[in-house]
Amino acid sequence: MSLPLRLHPVAQQSAQEQYAYMCDLKRTLDATGHCVLEMPSGTGKTVSLLSLIVSYQQFYPTKRKLIYCSRTVPEIEKALSELKRLMDYRKECSETDEEREKEQNFYGIGVTSRKNLCIHPEVSKEKKGKVVDARCRDLTNSAVCTKGRENPGSVELCDWHENLGKLEPGNLIPPGIWTLADVLQYGRDNKICPYFLVRRMMPFVDVIIYSFHYLLDPKVAEQVSKELSKDAIVVFDEAHNIDNVCIESLSIDLTRPMLDSAARSVVKLGDKIEEIKKTDASKLQDEYAKLVEGLQEASSDEDAFVSNPVLPEDLLKEAIPGNIRKAEHFVAFLKRFVEYLKTRMRVLHVVAETPLSFLQHLKDITYIERRPLRFCAERLQSLVRTLELSRIDEFSSLQKVASFATLVATYEKGFLLILEPFETDNATVPNPIFHLTCLDPAIAIKPVFERFSTVVITSGTISPLDMYPKMLQFTPVVQETYSMTLTRNSFLPLVITRGSDQVHISSRFEVRNDPAVVRNFGSILIEYSKIVPDGIVAFFPSYLYMESIVAAWNDMGILNEVWKHKLIFVETPDANETSIALENYRRACDNGRGAVLLSVARGKVSEGIDFDHNYGRAVVMFGVPYQYTESRILKARLEYLRDAYRIRESEFLGFDAMRNAAQCVGRVLRGKTDWGLMVFADKRFARADKRAKLPRWINQYITETASNLSTDMALTVSKQFMRMISQNPNENQTGISLWTLADIEKAQAKQKELALQQEADRRDAAMEVDEDDEYGDGGFDDEALGAINLDV
């Protein structure tokens, strides 16, 4: 079987690992199975992925939809840009008009929240996403719209939404690839709502790009991703933290202020019901009648205020139980439940219990049964709609309580309830938090694997590969890691185990605040800021550590030394503030002044921001980014992993720390002409078992000597490396790491031979290769491409 593949415009040459990557991807698509692929950062993973899948989509008449998930909005936007560029190229290359038209009719969009897409002059000014959502709903829900259209001027409507409604569904925007910025601009130009535009276009497009949550979080997936067809190709890019996203989407925290707010909301609901009873009692009557009949209320998903937090298959397809059908009964029910939770919060010792024991206790005290509890979220949704409440963001705490109730009553296994009365062990003022924590990432992702025939999990740092199928409970058909072929070592990983004074350095809890360690960490930063040009990024294992060490360095005069050579920027708690710091950091790098960016592994900056070229000539990882092992939630999760999947605690912790460390240092490289230093500063990195958990493409370049250095030795090695790498490479990677078409054909011939030998019964893969003399001219002739057999 062959596939007319059009390479990406930039990939007039394709890298060797890109080719292998595409072959394996193709294998997965043909076999309609799942796969795990690790491809080094900055080798054009996204491009390879998109160009193969788009070729596949365009070649087959079935047009399987591509659902491409990424972690962060910047990455979504980047992927959209890549796709746009790819399609431009394909249009350029298509030979017949028919083909060109096919390429032109290709749709690709990105989906994100109202907050990011709103252009309503007032609503978009709101700072909080939740408020934007609520205010938008007030202007756009179907009840308001009907009222407004019947009687113009009676209620406020959103003009942008109204204008969109006048357009023909499925044809809201001309075909093409629309990045988020493009959609916003289109919305502004044509005065239509970009958010609803992308939401309503979803069923009609070929590629959807959005974040993990839109597929994994049942609350969102229910609204957004329900109608996606089963044969869609799902890709999770940058999926190294996918297990965490899965767990997060089913976990909920309740605090005392939230319960107070929920209690107020319950009162408000009661008042509203009383009011409605007087004015429009028939409404409640209608609702009751519908609930008796077990009818799902017909309403568009766009209106949904709170959707069910549990997974589709766990939803009960039955009528809501009698004792909460009547609005006032349900309000009383909620009140009782909130009161119960409040009493639980008064306990001054830590409690950990299973959902079953919680339900038992609940029943003993309040006589609340499990079944009505399960319907809590659904019933609340129905009530809110009936009452036509506005500004529902004020009810968000109540929504959380309802979700909590539904989750706790639905799942027995893989969940744990933990009540922590104090924030820290030595705190004296209680600040209780009731955690409902999901321990098993497989629960949330299970429906995705079951529903979609092909799920691709890929990232630059996803080692060890077998961990993911184990944790997520699926069987991949392909599981592969690719090394990085380089004609010169464009990055230098170094492990610094001790300072120049031979004191061992480590972020181990016992020694991390030792002045000698802090000073030695500081001198690494000083020395590197002296010798490295442009940007340096430093990562710390946690916010707490970064904040304390920044203060300590300042008092020790270490930062004063750094100021002499570079500017200093630090990640702050606020995302927007950090973005601005990041922007200035990049300006300083561009300007040549050079800067240091201090940030946190697993933090905001470590995910999704590239520090390529001059934006990061060195990454310093201060310490091993272990999770906080005293955390009760983590402890519970480790226990669960051990019992359910036989993954040892230390194994998981080590794996988790190293994947994050690799993720941090991996951001320094983008492309093979880029170069950078990767400094691992902790003596624990020297241990072979730690390093073995790094992705192969990094690990293979750590030499034995570079795995145990003192600061001064590391500096010598770094200087040498920089002198070497700064020479004009004048290299030609062709044939070694970059493959031209001829090289690919050679490799294919070789593979084909092997395949033929091994499997005689395999479909006859030998396709007639056209005698065509035009190979050498660099352009890709379609026929020639058509003849390439990508099948192994």
Binding site: H8, V10, Q12, Q13, A15, G44, R71, T72, P74, K78, S81, K84, S113, K128, G129, H213, Y214, D217, V220, I247, E248, S249, S251, I252, D253, H435, Y543, L544, E547, V550, A551, N554, D555, L559, L567, F569, V570, T572, D574, N576, E577, S579, A581, E583, N584, R586, R593, A595, G603, K604, E607, Q627, Y628, S631, L634, G671, K672, T673, D674, L738
Partner: protein
């Protein structure tokens, strides 16, 4: 003679002399000398420091713009007189330095004048209404603002032949700097120019790039130092004090505009200069400005101050910053967008991963970010322009581009710049266009055939191939010898006496220089604009013959060295071998000169 502002007996580098401040320069003359040894214009003065009050020696140190180490003067008059003299100098220089530092923008910087400068009665920059203090300054040698380096250099050299030679003194200064920074060149210079063999200008001919590089390096404006303004108390005379220097005052005003505001509000109406500062350093405001988290600990020992507390702002230690720029950053780095992309889910992060848990650090972190941004803005001339939307896809593509995947061929070579290129190609085209052109057309098929035939039976041929033994052996032997001799050289000690060796080096470099001059005179100038002075052909010829005269002596010199070597009991052959290449080169030049003169006897 410029008028003298003040003067004092002072020693410099332990030599007694007279320190004088004229209306444009600071100079120091050694006792007995006529010309000053140290002399620099006002505009060079960058910083000032002095010995402590009670110190035995009364010293004054002046840092220069070009030389941070600066000069150290010790006042040698009796202590009381010395102190008075020093104070006078200090007062004057403080004013000068303040002017040098003053940013060219008048207005708010008025407040930035130092209290001391004002006390000393020096004119206040900005206050006199003129645009900064520039008119007071003598025109600085390199201050050519608003002119790009390339432009200024090019126009200069074209106009007068030497870079920057509109200031001959400046040119001289540059040469001196270059010589100082490269000892080898200085050695050669001493040898040839001071020895009278060639003139100064000849020496620099062909070395303009060094001067240009030096000029460029100097004209680069030094950026602001990055350190935070964080005055820390020092122990002076047993008391803990913060020493206020004019520079510090300036920095404080720039870093904390609120202090500048307080200053202009209160001085001198409500508070005197001294009072202002002493109260400021004891106020909560100062503690809020200090770059340390310990400052919050001292908060409660600090007294209330009705004047300064007015200016106090709340600590910026909330999770969200107090003021945030409104516009969004580029989507590719917009972290906030991810934050609101979906509702928050999951359990709270553990204690260590909650950002901003140590609230006391937040103001510090924000201060770092602000300080860096401010430095950047001053360097780039203003805050970042409001980021326009990345309209063109190209800009976005540039960010996602992977350079290494570009086709090699896409890198265009350097286009040959040829006169009448069009005609050249036309001519060629016409030539080949003609039927029956002289180029034989190759029949590829036939050629292929021939090639095939010629390779027939290659294996047999290969088997018959015999390498002649003798040649192979000799090749091997010569290689072995080569390796051996190299090893020999490597192992042999460097045993030529130091003095002789130095002579040899000198002889060699000198001959080299003569050769360079010679060929320079022979060949046409590489680039007009690069030329120091465009010499007439006659001049060139004269120069060449002069150089030949020198070069002819090279043999004698080498012979002398050989004799010397014999006396030193060094194998003279080694000296000969060492000097062989240079002699060869000299002979070549001599030979060239001879044939040239024979060919064109009329030229002489």
């Amino acid at each position: 003679m410029p008028s003298l502002v003040c003067s004092a007996q002072a020693s410099y580098k332990k030599l007694p002399g007279l320190l004088e401040l004229t209306d444009s320069h600071l100079q120091w003359t050694r006792t007995g000398d006529n010309a000053p040894v140290v002399k620099f214009p006002y505009s060079e003065a960058a910083s000032l420091s002095r010995s402590k009050v009670g110190a035995e020696q009364v010293r004054l140190k002046i840092g220069l713009v070009s030389n941070e180490a600066g000069h150290n003067f010790t006042f040698t008059s009796p202590q009381a007189v010395a102190l008075a003299e020093r104070d006078k100098f200090e007062a004057e220089l403080t004013g000068i330095i303040a002017r040098n530092r003053a940013p060219p923008v008048p207005g708010p910087t008025t407040a930035a004048t130092t209290p001391k400068a004002r006390l000393a009665g020096t004119p206040v920059p900005g206050a006199n209404g003129s645009a900064a203090a520039t008119p007071l300054r003598p025109p600085p040698p390199l201050a050519r603002p608003s002119q790009s380096r390339a432009q200024s250099v090019a126009s200069d050299s074209r106009a007068s032949g030497t870079p920057l030679s509109d200031h001959p003194t400046n040119d001289f200064r540059l040469r001196k700097k270059v010589l100082l920074s490269t000892p080898e060149l200085a050695q050669l210079h001493r040898e040839l120019v001071m020895g009278g063999h060639i003139t100064e200008n000849e020496f620099w001919e062909g070395r303009e790039h060094l001067l240009l590089a030096q000029a460029a390096a100097e004209s680069q404006k030094r950026g602001k130092p990055g350190q935070l303004v964080d005055p820390r108390p020092q122990a002076v005379d047993g008391d803990v004090k913060i020493v206020i220097t004019p520079q510090l005052v300036h920095d404080i005003f720039e870093e904390f505009p609120i202090v500048a505001k307080a200053y202009s509000d209160n001085v001198p109406e409500k508070l005197s200069e001294a009072e202002f500062w002493s109260r400021y350093f004891q106020s909560k405001l100062f503690n809020a400005h200090r770059a340390s988290i310990r400052s919050s600990a001292v908060q409660h020992v600090v007294k209330d101050d009705p004047i300064f507390d007015k200016y106090l702002e709340k600590d910026d230690d909330e999770l969200e910053p107090r003021k945030l720029r409104e516009e969004r950053v580029d989507t590719f780095i917009d972290l906030g967008a991810t934050f609101v992309d979906h509702e928050e889910t999951g359990n709270e992060k553990d204690v260590t991963m909650q950002a901003g848990k140590q609230r006391a650090v937040l103001p510090l972190i924000r201060k770092f970010n602000e300080h860096s941004t401010r430095l950047l803005d001053t360097a780039l001339g203003g805050p970042s322009v409001k980021r326009r939307r990345l309209d063109t896809d190209d800009e976005r593509y540039a960010q996602i581009d992977l350079e290494d995947l570009h086709d090699d061929e896409s890198s265009a070579g350097i286009i040959l710049d040829m006169q009448n290129r069009q005609r050249y190609f036309d001519g060629r085209a016409n030539g080949t266009g003609q039927p029956g052109s002289d180029e034989p057309r190759v029949d590829f098929r036939e050629a292929m055939q021939q090639a095939k035939v010629s390779t027939l039976g290659w294996s047999a041929n290969l088997a018959q191939l015999k390498i002649e033994k003798k040649a192979g052996d000799s090749a091997l032997i010569s290689m072995t010898q080569n390796v051996q001799s190299r090893l020999d050289v490597k192992q042999r000690k460097h045993d030529i006496p130091e003095a002789l060796f130095r002579q040899m080096t000198t002889c060699q470099t000198a001959a080299n220089e003569f050769l360079r001059q010679f060929w320079l005179a022979i060949y046409p100038p590489a680039n007009e604009s690069q030329q120091l002075s465009v010499a007439t052909p006659a001049q060139k010829a004269a120069k060449a013959s002069k150089m030949i005269g020198y070069l002819k002596k090279t043999h004698e010199k080498v012979d002398a060295l050989v004799v010397e070597a014999q006396r030193e009991q060094v194998d003279p052959a080694r000296v000969r071998v060492a000097m062989k290449p240079i002699l060869d080169a000299v002979d070549k030049a001599l030979g060239f000169w001879q044939t040239k003169n024979v060919k064109t006897p009329g030229a002489r």
